[in-house]
Amino acid sequence: MQRSLHIDPEKCTGCLQCEMACSLENEKVFNIAKSRIKVFTFHEEGRFVPYTCTQCDEAWCMHACPVEAIQLNKLTGAKVVNESVCVGCKVCTIACPFGTVNYNEDSGKVIKCDLCGGDPECAKACPTSAIAYIDANWTGLDRMRSWAARTDTSARA
């Protein structure tokens, strides 16, 4: 069964352990600037919101890539950057309307969430279960996806 990241902002305390875990797993450093998941702070509302790629079906990044460097992992449903193919043109970073594909100036390539191959470190590191990796049908990602559909440049007639 395909699973996805379920994010419950109400449970997030803003501890940033998800960012640390992501950076360590993927970049081998404790550097939250290199995390693929990001916790956004809302002072006015007193709220923290962790956010990363929803692995959306539209896969704007994948379709915009001119050299086939982003591919679907059929097991996890993740859209994964193949670093050896990526030329660093950054078209995917502007194509993704969620802002979840970022350019890494150190490597000259782009980075995005790949669900850690099916065992996401951010979810494991979260002490309050604000981030959980669960059956895709249960997640609140549907509302993000329905929004994705609204911005689709080619809505079905």
Partner: protein, 434 residues
């Protein structure tokens, strides 16, 4: 059903693959004018810095990809179209019958109308063949004059600089990338380039290019020496500018914009303006003929008018939507979205939608010229309609999301006007993720 696609760039290739998925039985012929397998011009700058080999520019990496999908690729060019009989004439002399035709012939560099533009040592940077010439001539220390600091000019700047050439840039606009960047951003990019040792002449035109010794003389000398004219002589070219300067060059690269490849349609009944006019299904005025990519003038998301958007994401969207309609799956195109991202010697810039702003709209900007960071947001009422950024690499795509999603900003408009960097927060809050 017999499908013919003219043009093997991203629009043509994505259309062919979409046709195959939608109509497993149809016959699909993809006609490309260049000898290489379908490739991406977007990847050429990375070929020039030798980060990737030529094969790294290919749109599809598996050698039997097209064969496996039952897509026939032919290297040929269309010389004539007989629309009433649905038949193409190809330069090889062959004919090709079609039921549905997609014109995805892309664009080609505009040739600057100045004397000397055809001299050896003057090249475009558009095809793999052009790239091979540049790789050969742009040797360390070579003097290179780049005409045009638009998107293509700027994207190859870095490659040229990394190759260690002595580079000068000539741009007729009053700033760099004038069709993608506003005054502030375009001038910051210019300053950045100058700080990296590149001579930038803006508001300057090239009057002509001369062979220093005269073409006849040069040919004789190089002929005697057994060299080809291009590598035969140091600084063989002189580029005359309208500001009185004269630049010496071993290589001149002309990157003065592109125009749609639609000449072969002259005399046909296919309706043309700047490009081939297409409706919201990417259909031309002839029901069985569609157009996609750089050659097509389709609906613009931001203005609702018809525009040529010669960018990769539009080519890819056009190709997919056109193919769905060709195969009978009725699909509406909501309009292409103008957006660009550019890396000029490590300075990353992007612009989106109506970055130049709209009448009656308002805007906010933050600028740190010493850090080369800049962000400009353009609004119409409480919706963002355009944006420009310099030095922004994190979450930049959300600018597209906010603009193309026509996200009502509500109280977040004021918050953004106080702190434009809170883009992601605005997007998350207004999309009920908060």
């Amino acid at each position: 059903m017999q499908y013919a696609i003219i043009g093997a760039g991203p629009a043509g290739v994505i259309a062919a693959e979409t046709l195959r998925k939608t109509d497993p039985q149809g016959s699909i012929v993809l006609i490309g004018g260049e000898p290489e397998p379908p490739y991406s011009r977007m990847a050429i700058p990375y070929l020039l810095i030798e980060r990737i080999p030529e094969t790294g520019t290919y749109l599809r990496h598996s050698p039997d990809h097209f064969q496996k999908q039952g897509i026939e690729i032919r290297q040929d060019r269309v010389t004539a179209m007989d629309t009433p009989n649905r038949r193409l004439t190809l330069s090889s002399g062959d004919g090709l019958q079609y039921d549905r035709l997609l014109i995805a012939t892309g664009s080609r560099p505009i040739k600057l109308p100045v004397p000397g533009i055809d001299l050896p040592g003057v090249h475009n940077c558009w095809t793999l063949e052009d790239a091979r010439h540049i790789l050969r001539l742009a040797q360390p220390g070579a003097k290179v004059v780049l005409i045009g600091a638009g998107f293509i000019g700027c994207i190859i700047l870095e490659a040229l600089a990394e190759r260690g050439v002595d580079l000068s840039v000539v741009e007729m606009g009053d700033r760099m990338v004038p069709r993608m960047m506003n005054q502030t951003a375009g001038n910051l990019i210019k300053r950045w380039c100058e700080a990296k040792g590149i001579q930038v002449h803006t508001a300057t035109r090239v009057k002509g290019i001369e062979s220093r010794s005269g073409p006849g003389f040069l040919k004789r000398v190089t002929g005697v020496l057994g060299l080809d004219a291009e590598s035969g002589s140091a600084n063989a070219l002189g580029v005359e500018l309208d500001n009185g300067h004269r630049l010496q060059a071993d290589l001149v690269i002309s990157a003065t914009g592109v125009q749609p490849n639609s000449e072969f349609l002259k005399g046909s009944s296919v309706e043309l303006e700047q490009g081939i006019l297409v409706d919201n299904r990417l259909r031309t005025n002839i029901p069985e003929i569609f157009a996609a990519g750089d050659v097509a003038q389709g609906r613009d998301f931001s203005t609702g008018g018809h525009q040529v958007h010669a960018i990769q994401p539009t080519a890819s969207d056009h190709g997919r939507v056109a193919a769905l309609n060709m195969a009978g799956t009725d699909t509406l195109f909501q309009g292409s979205f103008n957006m660009n991202v550019l890396d000029t010697l490590g300075l990353i810039s992007s612009s989106f939608g109506l970055w130049m702003g709209v009448e009656g709209g308002d805007s906010v900007e933050i600028c740190s010229p010493e850090k080369y960071r800049y962000l400009n947001l353009e609004f119409q009422e409480d919706v963002m309609v355009g944006a420009t950024s310099l030095g922004l690499t994190q979450h930049v795509g959300v600018l597209r999301g906010l603009i193309q999603g026509r996200v009502k900003l509500g109280q977040w408009k004021d918050r953004l006007k106080r702190d434009p960097s809170r883009l992601m927060e605005a997007y998350l809050a207004q999309n009920a993720v908060l």
